[in-house]
């Protein structure tokens, strides 16, 4: 049946050749029709089975790799948490608020270069996108990691002032964070307040997208409660702010890296599970089809023999 149809289709192809004198596209058009009509053959099923098995192997090994990276990241994160909370305390105690007459804001997106890790990157970007949707004039974005840059570039490309990549392959170091902090300080962008958007690691299966506040020197010196700190002069405040930006970034990097690895672990675990299900279904259809082919051949032989 299928063969006759294709033969007809090819015949019409040849008459069209007479009309248009253009054969190749017609033949190319015929190929998918042929594939749609024919039942899934044994060979095509076994090929799919093989490719799904390969995918499962890849996702399984990715899971193992990210599990190893995750344990390391979590160990390092535990050591870094006090640094982050210490830097945060200063802003809270001194009750620093952004200057009302300087509306410029800085947003730092902490993601990485690598995907296949669930929604860690998208949830950071979504947070920033809702902010940018309200006000895209006074907010500038620093993208850490290719993923956030790739998503934000299309609609809010003009808001990006710095993009960092080559992050996520190896665990982030303080030098990485201080390079970013240095670049932000030297970018000549005048902002009164800012925030670091990152994923805070909660447990192996969960993370929350949070923000850390960052303030400029002008907002800090204008804070009403700064006097609770003793013997501060401008230089000490400036030095401390520079350092605390680097420390906060470092903390956010570590939290981000840890939640990324844990999320990749769960994502790859799910992927291997799904691949396993698919393999089961495919091998069932493979066996069924093989049996059908054998039965058909037997029927043909028997009916041929009885017709003699």
């Amino acid at each position: 049946m299928g063969e006759r149809n294709t033969a007809q289709a090819q015949c019409s192809g040849f008459t069209m050749l007479g009309r248009f004198g253009y054969l190749t596209p017609v033949l190319v058009q015929n190929v998918p029709i042929q594939q749609q009509r024919g039942m899934a053959t044994l060979k095509s099923i076994s090929m799919r089975l093989k490719s799904v098995k390969n995918i499962q192997k890849i996702t399984q090994s990715m899971k193992m790799v990210s599990a190893a990276k995750y344990t390391k990241a979590e160990r390092e994160l535990k050591a870094v948490r006090p640094i982050g909370s210490g830097a945060q305390q200063f802003y809270e105690r001194a009750e620093i608020a952004p200057l009302p007459d300087v509306p410029q804001k800085l947003v730092i997106a902490i993601t990485s270069d690598r995907g296949l890790c669930g929604a860690v990157h998208t949830s950071v970007v979504r947070h920033i996108r809702t902010e940018l949707a309200q006000d895209d004039q006074n907010i500038k974005v620093v993208c850490v990691g290719d993923k956030s840059r790739a998503i934000l570039q299309r609609i809010y490309g003009k808001n990006i002032i710095l993009a960092c990549n080559e992050i996520g392959r190896l665990p982030p170091t303080f030098i990485d964070a201080s390079k970013v902090a240095d670049a932000i300080l030297k970018s000549e962008y005048q902002f009164s307040a800012g925030e670091i958007v990152f994923n805070r690691f909660k447990s192996v299966v969960s993370y929350v997208t949070e923000t850390l506040p960052v303030f400029s020197l002008a907002s800090v010196t204008a804070a009403p409660k700064l006097s609770i700190y003793d013997s501060l002069d401008d230089e000490v405040v400036q030095s401390y702010l520079e350092f605390s930006l680097a420390a906060l970034l470092f903390y956010a990097f570590k939290e981000g890296a840890c939640s990324e690895q844990s999320s990749r672990m769960t994502a790859m675990d799910n992927a291997s599970k799904n691949a396993g299900e698919m393999i089961e279904k495919l091998s069932l259809t493979f066996n069924r089809t093989r049996q059908a082919v054998i039965t058909r051949e037997l029927i043909e032989i028997i009916s041929g023999a009885s017709a003699l």
């Binding site: 190896l170 990485d176 401390y240």
Partner: protein
């Protein structure tokens, strides 16, 4: 004003230099581990108007050829001259 700030450094640069020297002064066993923490891999590009800004490397020798990421340029009388081939 401290000397390092007058030299154009900020506190981040200053403390990183101090940390680097401290790492180098460690005993060999902790040193290997500490040196790993001392390098950075991040690459930072400046952006403006939705596009990355090409960073130019300035060369002093007027006949020096150098390769930018996309185009090859030659410094000629202190100006950039685009050239197709490297002699």
């Amino acid at each position: 004003m401290s000397a390092w700030r007058q030299a154009g450094l900020n506190y981040i640069n200053y403390s990183n230099i101090a940390a680097k020297l401290l790492r180098q002064a460690l005993k060999p066993e902790p040193k290997a581990e500490a040196l790993k923490r001392g390098d950075a891999h991040i690459r930072i590009t400046k952006w403006a108007d939705g596009k990355p800004i090409k960073q130019h490397i300035f060369a002093y020798d007027r006949k020096t050829l150098f390769i930018n990421s996309t185009i090859k340029k030659q410094i000629f009388k202190g100006k950039y001259v685009k050239c197709k081939y490297i002699k």
